[in-house]
């Protein structure tokens, strides 16, 4: 066994070991907990970089397979696979973990548990993105949930208990419905294959599911899609998100928006689109419709928010709606046999996931910093802050501009590509008026960000804040925000850095 095959399991094991270690660093040792946790996230980041520098064509060499449960007619295995779809998510997870770990160095209330929970979330996230066995995938999916529940309910804001339990139950119900979908899919595959043992691996299901009855595929798609759409979250399943985000500690929000929401869209591409080709044609319209509604509703709701963090939370719904639209376009392309459209849709869906991961991470750090440094996140209480906290204002402007799709930054390429793909999808369908919705939502996005900036950063200096306690970003916060800003700018200037990973994966799709 060479070292390469061990990297993927290590991506999960390293944070796990780190989580257990930091868990026991209470009392006097608490002051080292942050350092230890940071070291473990850095090791994970280095491991993910080892994967990143490998040419996309050679990613197969990292595949890891080991037997796990093989009893009672069931066969589950430890299968870890990385490909063009998951590699960016793995990198994003590893990077954001390092950044939030550094950012939350000031955590004083039970710090050891805090860092352990952050690392435990990384275990679940890495597991979701790497596993290629439905049993393992589901376990990892749930594993990411529990630490987030505790993170919100221990360290969150005033309404944390309500939000945490709402988040937990909402997403747990969704994943249970998804579990039924997985059952149906896996057992039907075993039935079609005529095999006595039920194999839970992705490859087995993908192989046999393509030949299943299309009505069956459509029904299974519904169950799986529900599970994933709640996580994304798509309107009308989004109500847990604003609550969870507003109450979560900053580090939790960053991970929640940056990588946890991506679990939903990742699942739709990985499971719904990959394994159920027969359902794509019928579902494309609903997926597009949900995407458009999420985009416009999220953007519209943003305008009304008084809390910066809540505004950013709703903007996440809007931007994940874009991803949904891209996936819908790709599904339409797959159903119509338009290889170019499939490639474009998938490619930019993944790119937008990556872009939104970076941008929303930065946005939530900015909002969190406002909460810590100014003592409030309420927009009406602020005003003219740019003069008092210039560095902070620069970062905030940068993050907002990136999110509204300023050309030259990463957000632009995602929106640009997705709208191009969407145009290709509606052209043969003759529904050009739908473009208006898209443009309207982009307009609204620009509107709420600019308006929020105007009310907080510019204008007359507010009298409602006690400026004795207001301070600008400290050095660690500046570095963390700077790293993210750098990444956003670099990938915006040279999007091919990220797209090159995705293209190979999308190309494989275009063949079908």
């Amino acid at each position: 066994m060479d070292f390469n095959t061990l990297i993927l399991p290590l991506l999960i094991l390293v944070p796990l070991i780190g989580a257990v270690l930091t868990l026991f660093m209470g009392g006097n040792r608490a002051k080292y907990a942050n350092l230890v946790a940071l070291v473990f996230t850095l090791i994970t980041l280095v491991l993910s970089l080892v994967v990143m520098i490998t040419p996309v064509g050679e990613l197969d060499k990292f595949n890891f397979t080991a037997d796990w449960i093989n009893a009672g007619g069931l066969k589950m295995s430890f299968i870890f696979v990385v490909d063009g779809l998951s590699i960016l998510m793995v990198f994003l997870t590893a990077m954001l973990e390092v950044l939030v770990m550094a950012f939350s160095y000031k955590q004083s209330d039970r710090p050891n548990y805090f860092y352990a929970l952050l690392l435990a979330i990384e275990v679940g996230l890495m597991g979701v993105y790497l596993s290629a066995d439905y049993f393992l995938f589901y376990i990892m999916w749930e594993v990411s949930l529990i630490p987030m529940y505790f993170l919100i309910s221990w360290y969150g804001g005033p309404r944390r208990h309500y939000s945490a339990i709402k988040f937990f139950i909402y997403t747990h119900v969704a994943s249970l419905i998804m579990l039924i979908g997985i059952f149906c899919m896996v057992f039907e595959s075993a039935h079609l294959a005529g095999s006595a043992t039920v194999d839970f691996s992705f490859a087995f299901v993908k192989q046999w599911m393509a030949g299943a009855d299309s009505v069956f595929q459509i029904l299974v798609f519904a169950m799986l899609f529900f599970g994933f759409a709640v996580k994304m979250p798509a309107v009308p399943f989004h109500t847990w998100l604003p609550d969870a985000h507003v109450e979560a500690p900053t580090a939790g929000s960053v991970l929640l928006a940056g990588v946890m929401l991506k679990m939903g869209s990742y699942g739709i591409i990985r499971v719904c689109i990959e394994a159920l080709p027969g359902a794509l044609g019928s579902w494309q319209y609903i997926v597009i419709a949900i995407g458009l509604v999420s985009m416009i509703y999220g953007a519209y709701a943003c305008i009304a928010q008084r809390d910066l963090k809540k505004m950013v939370a709703y903007s996440s719904i809007s931007h994940m709606g874009l991803v949904m639209v891209a996936m819908g376009a790709a599904m339409g392309g797959a159903a119509a046999g338009d290889a170019n459209l499939v490639k474009m849709g998938i490619e930019f869906a993944i790119f937008q996931m990556f872009a939104h991961g970076l941008i929303s991470g930065m946005l939530f750090l900015v909002c969190g910093t406002a909460g810590h440094n100014f003592g409030t996140r309420e927009i009406p209480l602020m005003g003219g802050m740019a003069g008092k906290v210039p560095v902070y204002a620069a970062f905030m402007m940068f993050a907002f501009m990136a999110s509204l799709g300023l050309p030259g930054l990463i957000g632009f390429w995602g929106e640009f590509g997705i709208i191009a793909a969407f145009y290709q999808w509606i052209e043969p369908n003759g529904m050009l008026y739908l473009l208006v919705i898209c443009l309207l939502s982009l307009l609204l996005t620009a509107g709420y960000y600019l308006w929020a900036m105007q009310r907080t950063l510019f204008g007359r200096l507010t009298t409602k804040l006690d400026f004795a306690h207001v301070h600008d970003v400290d050095r660690v916060e500046a570095v963390v925000l700077g790293v993210l800003a750098f990444a956003i700018a670099i990938y915006g200037f040279w999007p091919d850095l990220a797209l090159s990973y995705v293209t190979g994966y999308a190309q494989a799709w275009a063949v079908i």
């Binding site: 009893a71 009672g72 007619g73 594993v143 221990w154 208990h161 339990i165 119900v173 249970l176 579990l179």
Partner: protein, 507 residues
């Protein structure tokens, strides 16, 4: 070494060797207490008895294929002519009952809820009840089952009322006796009707006679009254009203014994009688029976979970949750496939550890002076971090959160409703109800976890807790089992599959 050591010495009595040892233990127990006057002595001797019996059972289970004819008590021509048959199903279930008895006896001696007087009788009753359960799973006809169930019932009436200082125990005892009497009457009435209709009470003859004679009104009444009678034993809705009162009133080790042991015996009866009788029958319509079980399962889990939300007493909450768990296991009765039965058996095992563990924690905390209300658990994580952590494991496992044992067993059990060996089955709706119930159950389990981890302890109760060390040992064993069975279930899942096939094939 193989099982010939046993068969050479005990001949045809090998089939009930584990039970014989338990009975001998039960008989000497009062004498042990009378001579030593020490609860520790009774505990130690009973544990030795259970462990010896368990080792013998494991050896027999391992060599079951090589023991041939000896697994029938009395051979095929003797007086008892195969009244008790040791199958791998029986062996597996005996193992389960011994695990339950082991935990219950281990902690009883140190629990302050268990009366000091009559502790010899207490130990003896525990062993007799366990033996009764073991006989039930080994019986090969309805009378054998009936007698075994009665042995369990009568001993457990006494066990429930032995917590004499608490008036709730007396109330629970009275309720239990009356409901138990009703259950017995219904059962024996049902058995007589079945015997009248089919002309046999041998479990392996029931299906043949049923196929030959079809449905008659006598049989319908017989089956329904039997289901009702044994339905009381497993506390499935609508026969569940006694369970919360009894579990609340009894000493916690006894509650644990009833919830994890006695209930599993009832479920084993369902599997042995009805599943074996109806499975695979196509000549006569059996769908009504399947739907009857499906409805009982669905109602049980829904009633159990919904009512559990409203409970403030943790023992009552656990009681309602175990009504729901019985509902989950009854899915196997509705689906009637070996695969679903595998899931049912596996879930019975994991349920022993998670529900047993939760009851043990409640028992340990009562000894430490913590009340039974959920609000008494506020801030438990600060007062006793390990107890709180173990309780969280058990509750998450009961709710079916991966990667714990409860998840893995529910995974197999619920997928049994979807997979009947062929295409996706018609019982998907039952899986839906079960899974939605799982989600509901999460709500009240999380409420306890929230109390333990998030709330602050009430004034005057901030101190660290001290509880008898044996509780810690038993809870640790359960917690390890819950984690290990969740992550690596192979070694128990495979025997469950074998036992399921054996049960449905032998007869």
């Amino acid at each position: 070494m193989d099982a010939s050591i046993f068969t050479n010495i005990f001949g045809y009595y090998t089939a009930i060797l584990p039970m014989i040892i338990m009975i001998i233990g039960a008989m000497v127990m009062p004498a042990v207490y009378m001579l030593t006057k020490k609860r520790a002595a009774v505990t130690a001797v009973s544990l030795v008895v259970v462990v010896v019996s368990a080792v013998i059972n494991l050896i027999m289970l391992h060599y079951i294929g090589t023991m041939g004819d000896y697994i029938y008590l009395g051979g095929t021509s003797a007086t008892f002519s195969g009244l008790f048959v040791y199958t791998s199903f029986a062996g597996l279930m005996i193992m389960l009952f011994q695990i339950v008895a082991f935990f219950a006896i281990l902690v009883s001696g140190s629990s302050r809820e268990v009366t000091k007087l009559h502790f010899g009788a207490y130990g003896a009753l525990m062993l007799i009840a366990t033996t009764g359960m073991m006989f039930v799973v080994a019986a090969s006809d309805l009378i054998g089952i009936f007698v075994g169930v009665e042995a369990v019932s009568i001993s457990s009436y006494a066990l429930v009322t032995l917590k004499r200082a608490d008036p709730r125990a007396a109330e629970a005892g009275v309720k239990y006796v009356i409901i138990g009497g009703l259950s017995t009457a219904l059962t024996i009435y049902g058995i007589s009707m079945v015997y009248g209709s089919l002309g046999t009470i041998a479990l392996d003859g029931l299906q043949v006679a049923f196929v030959a004679k079809g449905w008659t009104w006598g049989l319908v009444i017989g089956i329904i009254t039997m289901i009702a009678g044994y339905g009381f034993k497993i506390a499935a809705a609508p026969f569940h009203m006694w369970a919360p009162d009894v579990y609340e009133g009894a000493a916690t080790p006894v509650s644990m014994f009833l919830a994890t042991g006695s209930k599993k015996m009832g479920l084993a009866v369902f599997f042995k009688v009805f599943l074996v009788m109806f499975i695979g029958v196509t000549a006569v319509k059996v769908e009504p029976v399947q739907y009857l079980f499906a409805i009982i399962a669905a109602v049980s889990m829904t009633v159990g979970n919904v009512v559990a939300i409203a409970q403030n007493n943790i023992k009552r909450m656990l009681a309602y949750s175990s009504i729901a768990q019985a509902g989950y296991i009854l899915i196997a009765m509705a689906v009637m496939t070996p695969y679903a039965l595998t899931g049912g058996l596996f879930h019975m095992f994991t349920h022993v550890f998670m529900k047993g563990g939760a009851f043990l924690i409640v028992g340990a905390l009562i000894c430490a002076g913590v009340g039974e209300k959920i609000s008494d658990y506020n801030g438990l994580a600060r007062r006793s971090p390990l107890m709180a952590f173990a309780m969280m494991l058990f509750l998450f496992s009961l709710a079916g959160v991966p990667p714990l044992a409860g998840f893995t067993s529910k995974f197999v059990l619920f997928s049994g409703a979807i997979y009947d060996g062929g295409a996706v089955s018609t019982w998907v709706w039952l899986a839906f109800i079960a899974i939605l119930n799982s989600a509901i159950s999460l709500y009240y389990y999380v409420r306890v976890i929230k109390a333990m981890y998030i709330e602050k302890p009430a004034k005057g109760t901030e101190g660290k807790l001290s509880y008898p060390k044996v509780f810690a040992i038993a809870i640790a064993l359960c917690a390890i089992a819950v984690v290990v069975l969740g992550i690596y279930p192979n070694f128990l899942l495979e025997p469950c599959a074998t036992a399921a096939k054996d049960l449905l094939g032998v007869f």
